[in-house]
Amino acid sequence: MVPGRCQTRVADADVELLPERALHWPQAGVLAVADLHWGKTESFQQHGIPLPLGVLDDDLARLSSALTATGARRLLLVGDLVHSRQGLTRDVISRVNTWREAHASLEVVLIRGNHDRHVRTLPPIWRMEDREEVLDEGPFRFAHHPEPAAGRYVWAGHLHPMVRLTGGADRLRLPCFHLRPGVGVLPAFSAFTGGMDVRRGRKDRVYAVAGTAVVEV
């Protein structure tokens, strides 16, 4: 096992939860991430809010490192890839393209989310397969909205789950994987995202992303 990752079994398949905020399904060679919000900083800038760039480059670098480390052949983007249409500037398109060229043989599938509705077509140069709602594969369904599906375990995003850890003197709030019976919610991939505290059910498992490691809490 690679240090920092967390292995677990879901719907009779082995999966790994990565500290890069990604889900790895080794058997299928799949890496899944949710809520990337590309172009968010640029959207802010266009509204007259002077926010510095940097998030996208770091996010892309982290994505690359997860891809390289896992050797995944397919990348599933589980919704909210692009923050807003205005944010999709020429510069954003070209920076993403540079990243795409570095992973030329990678198959990339977008499963659309609520933010993506405003972007009718993705830049073709990115070479992404565009899925409207869901992608079913093996025992899993990948969908942006965390709604249960009969007969499949759903991997979703949308909620930006965060977990609060408190105890005596110390307290922390970290992004997390929230595995409920039937639905697993991935942490928001983008570092420039807020989040919602998870409501933990009795059978839920929660994995916090603590820096360079994923820890079940």
């Binding site: 900083t41 640029e42 959207s43 802010f44 800038q45 266009q46 509204h47 007259g48 809010i49 002077p50 926010l51 510095p52 760039l53 940097g54 998030v55 770091d58 923050h83 807003s84 205005q86 944010g87 500037t89 510069d91 850890l165 408190t166 105890g167 005596g168 003197a169 110390d170 307290r171 922390l172 970290l174 570092a191 420039f192 995202t193 807020g194 916090a208 603590a210 820096g211 360079t212 490691a213 820890v215 809490v217």
Partner: protein, 853 residues
């Protein structure tokens, strides 16, 4: 200067004409413009006519009024300092009014600035009344956030000669393209309640606006009105700007203040902590007498809600005499309460600082302060609400909510006797306010770099503004930041034909929505399902409510139904309310004066002096403190160490107010982690601080004078500020003022949803990708200055380093420690790795899980 006869003749500025012994007819006319005008019944020059009008009311001008009129006539600017209700409005107003009537010209002549958003009609009426004495045809109007759009539209074309407005509305007027022409005719600005604005960003905003006005109208005279402050000279210099020398007009009209404390009947059941203590409610209900009009001041809105509810429960027969007043209650309801106080139909009003200033409702017989008085100036102001007769004694009754407040009240009594009023210090060149002002000026006709830079420097708070700082603020609004690469899509202010302007209409609109420096959490309208506004609550509070939850608001029991379009819909609750909304925002710290008075009082108690009633009453608690530990002395600092199941505690009691303690706690935590790896969580209140760590820590060895050294103080504070939440919290306000966070206004909501992000998140992005951003530096500086409170922290450290630290090991938290344990805050300082902390938290969890099994 003619002699004054304050006892016989009296004149009150902001009040409606009152019942006078000399004039048999009590007039109470509604604000109305006299139309058609009848000629003045008086002869002579305008000032002479105004004097006759004064005389006709049975008033003789006070010496300070004559002095102020003369100073205005000389062309001076300055500050008038007299107690509330002594006639300072007319002291400032009559001079300019006479001048303006003499000249009889069109266009804006006199600007009256008030910090109150809901401008009292009384101000308008008070400013209109003397017009009857004059021949000139002058108009008096208000312009605030509440002004109707038709009036605004008319004012856009033509301003009245006398305009009453707020700092925010003034800034909005400055964003109009024709601002320079609008203000060119201005003769005088009167800034009311300057002491309320002075030490805040609103005050800085006013300074910048005044600098702009001085530029538009070079002969402008500026007069501020202020209550007592320790730093009146500075207050005067700040309002007139660096290019004028202020004249200070003071009146020695101090009234005696009588302070009494309502003592608990028995101390056994009296709580040790918690500002919501209710034990005294029955005694207060007993003491109250509806024939005597009474204000009950509380320190927070939720406290006001609960006391109102409690009184209603105990005295249902007072239902129609009792009312509640605080800043979140719907404006109409507040006006109803103010009206009720005026006409005497309401006798008992529970309120917050919402009734501290502005609203004039005539004399109130009694004033009650529930809970800590917090500061001396503030208490004097509240006491001044009672017995508005000049020379008459003001009375205030203190009601403690927990035992230690008894000590505070004893201390406050001494400090009031010595008139130890606090200073209020203006801010030093906040760049967020400057950035906002630059956009305002770019909209209001545009500006050039050199001219505006020089103009801004005439604002006293910006006198030391460097070229670099000005250019940085300009760069922020033009390009986003000095590293252009990082802000490719950003633009707000653009240079067009050598002038800086805002060409983008959408951005102009957003700026106007965002103007101002008052920051609060996004607020949500509270409405009945059946219709009818109740007021506002904070979004963060509503977000925690579940449908069916009941809570108290505006004295009503409400059941939450749903949240939609920034409105929380409620219906009357059948069940008893289970909670009271909590409003975030300012919890006032103990003032310097009160804090040092408190140390003196405790020292006396330590020496066994129990002659003060409050101390005698609090003695069981102080005695328990003495037995378990020590009573903190003035010349030394008490430290307690303790071990509980939460971990290892260090308690320290500097008695310097919560802000200083917050800074001090972060600093000490940082310095302690240098001695040994640890994670500390911090807790502070007005009396002291607590450091708690889950692992054993050698506090005894660490507590040496070196720990309190002022060497590397700023560096250490900055480092601890980086580590802790303080800077991030401070950044919230800065981000809002500098236009980094879009306001949560209902109208702006939809269009800006994509650009909503919490300031904490923005802070993280800046720290990572533009660490040299000056707004970050400002956040740190504000933390420093506010925690320092102009060197207060440094002086505290000096005191702690010089005085012996008395370390006592206690087996359980002492009475002083107890409130700190209860009120633990979220800040923590750590140099352990994230993973270590998670693992340890996990461990604790599994232990906790294992226990009940």
């Amino acid at each position: 200067m003619q002699p004054t006869k304050p006892r016989r003749n009296r004149m009150r500025g902001k009040h409606a004409p009152e019942t006078q012994t000399e004039s048999p007819e009590p007039k109470r006319t509604r604000a109305k413009r006299p139309a058609p005008r009848s000629p003045s019944p008086y002869q002579g020059a305008p000032l002479e006519q105004l004097r006759q009008w004064f005389a006709s009311k049975g008033w003789t001008p006070y010496a300070f009024q004559e002095e102020a009129w003369a100073a205005y006539a000389r062309g001076d600017s300055g500050l008038i300092h007299v107690p509330t209700g002594a006639g300072k409005t007319y002291a400032a107003y009559i001079g300019p009014l006479a001048d303006v009537a003499e000249r009889d010209q069109k266009g804006l002549q006199i600007l009256y600035l008030t910090p109150l958003r809901a401008v009292s009609r009384d101000v308008e009426q008070a400013l209109r009344e003397p017009l009857l004495a004059l021949d000139a045809d002058l108009e008096v109007e208000s312009r605030t956030g509440d002004t109707s759009s038709s009036v605004r539209q008319r004012q856009r074309e033509r301003l009245p000669q006398v305009l009453i407005t707020t700092p925010e509305s003034l800034s909005l007027l400055l964003t109009q393209e024709q601002a320079a022409e609008n203000f060119a005719s201005l003769r005088a600005v009167i800034v009311d309640e300057w002491h309320e604005l002075l030490a805040s960003k609103r005050g800085t905003q006013v300074e910048l606006a005044l600098a702009r006005l001085r530029h538009f109208a070079p002969g402008l005279r500026i007069w501020a009105l202020s209550a007592t402050l320790a730093n009146l000279e500075e207050a005067a210099r700040t309002v007139v700007g660096t290019d004028r020398k202020p004249t200070l007009v003071s009146a020695e009209l101090q009234r005696p203040v009588d302070v009494e404390t309502l003592l608990p009947a028995e101390m056994d059941t009296f709580p040790w902590s918690g500002h919501l203590g209710f034990t005294m409610l029955p005694r207060v209900a007993e003491w109250l007498d509806p024939t005597q009009s009474t204000l009950l001041f509380t320190n927070t809105r939720s406290q006001a809600e609960r006391w109102f509810e409690g009184l209603r429960f105990l005295r249902p027969e007072w239902e129609h005499l009792l009312a509640l007043h605080h800043g979140s209650i719907d404006r109409e309801e507040r006006e109803r309460v103010e009206g009720g106080l005026k006409d005497g139909s309401l006798r008992l009003v529970v309120c917050t600082s919402s009734l501290d200033l502005g609203v004039d409702f005539g004399p109130v017989e009694r004033v009650i302060q529930i809970g800590s008085p917090k500061g001396i100036g503030r208490t004097l102001q509240r006491a001044g609400r009672s017995a508005h007769r000049p020379g008459a004694t003001c009375r205030i009754l203190f009601v403690p909510t927990h035992a230690l407040e008894l000590v505070e009240m004893a201390a406050a009594r001494d400090a009031i006797a010595g008139r130890e009023v606090e200073p209020r210090t203006p801010l030093s060149k906040p760049l967020d306010v400057l950035a906002q002002h630059l956009v305002t000026c770019a909209l209001g006709g545009g500006f050039t770099r050199e001219a505006l830079r020089d103009e801004v420097r005439t604002a006293t708070s910006y006198a030391s503004l460097t070229d670099e700082e000005f250019d940085w603020a300009l760069t922020l609004v033009r390009e986003g930041g000095p590293t252009l690469r990082a802000y490719p899509e950003f633009r707000r202010v653009v240079e067009v034909d050598c002038r800086f302007r805002v060409p983008d209409v959408r951005l102009a609109r957003l700026h106007r929505l965002n103007i101002g420096t008052i920051t609060s959490d996004a607020s949500v309208q509270l409405r009945y399902w059946s219709g009818g506004n109740l007021g506002t609550v904070e979004e963060s509070y509503v977000s925690r409510l579940k449908p069916g939850d009941t809570f108290l608001f505006a004295g009503r029991r409400l059941e939450f139904s749903r949240f939609k379009d920034m409105t929380a819909y409620v219906k009357p609750a059948k069940a008893k309310a289970t909670q009271t909304p909590r409003w975030g925002g300012s919890r006032l710290p103990l003032s310097t004066s009160l804090a040092s008075a408190m140390r003196r009082t405790l020292e006396a108690a330590r020496q066994g002096d129990v002659t003060r009633d409050e101390i005698a009453a609090a003695w069981p608690i102080l005695d328990a403190q003495a037995r378990l530990s020590r009573i903190p002395g003035d010349g030394r600092c008490l430290a307690e160490t303790c071990r509980t199941r939460d971990g290892h505690h260090l308690f320290l009691y500097p008695f310097e107010g919560r802000l200083v303690h917050e800074g001090l706690a972060a600093l000490l935590a940082l310095r302690l982690t240098r001695l040994q790896k640890a994670t500390f969580s911090l807790s502070v209140n007005d009396y002291g601080l607590e450091l708690l760590t889950p692992t054993p820590f050698p506090f005894d060895e660490a507590l040496r004078p070196a720990l309190f050294t002022r060497e590397r103080l700023v560096e250490d504070i900055l480092e601890s500020v980086n580590l802790s939440e303080l800077a991030r919290r401070q950044f919230r306000d800065i981000a809002r003022v500098a236009g980094l966070v879009m306001p949560g206004l209902p109208g702006a909501r939809k269009s800006t949803r994509q650009v909503q992000a919490s300031a904490a998140l923005l802070y993280d992005v800046f720290v990572k990708y533009d660490p040299d951003n000056l707004l970050l530096r400002q956040a740190r500086r504000e933390v420093l200055e506010q925690q320092f409170e102009q060197g207060r922290l440094a002086r505290t450290l000096e005191r702690l380093g010089a005085s012996p630290v008395e370390v006592v090991h206690v087996h359980r938290p002492s009475p002083l420690a107890f409130p700190l344990v209860v009120e633990r805050i979220s800040a923590s300082v750590s140099n352990e790795s994230l993973l270590d902390r998670v693992e340890r938290l996990k461990e604790r969890w599994s232990q906790a899980d294992a226990r009940p099994a």
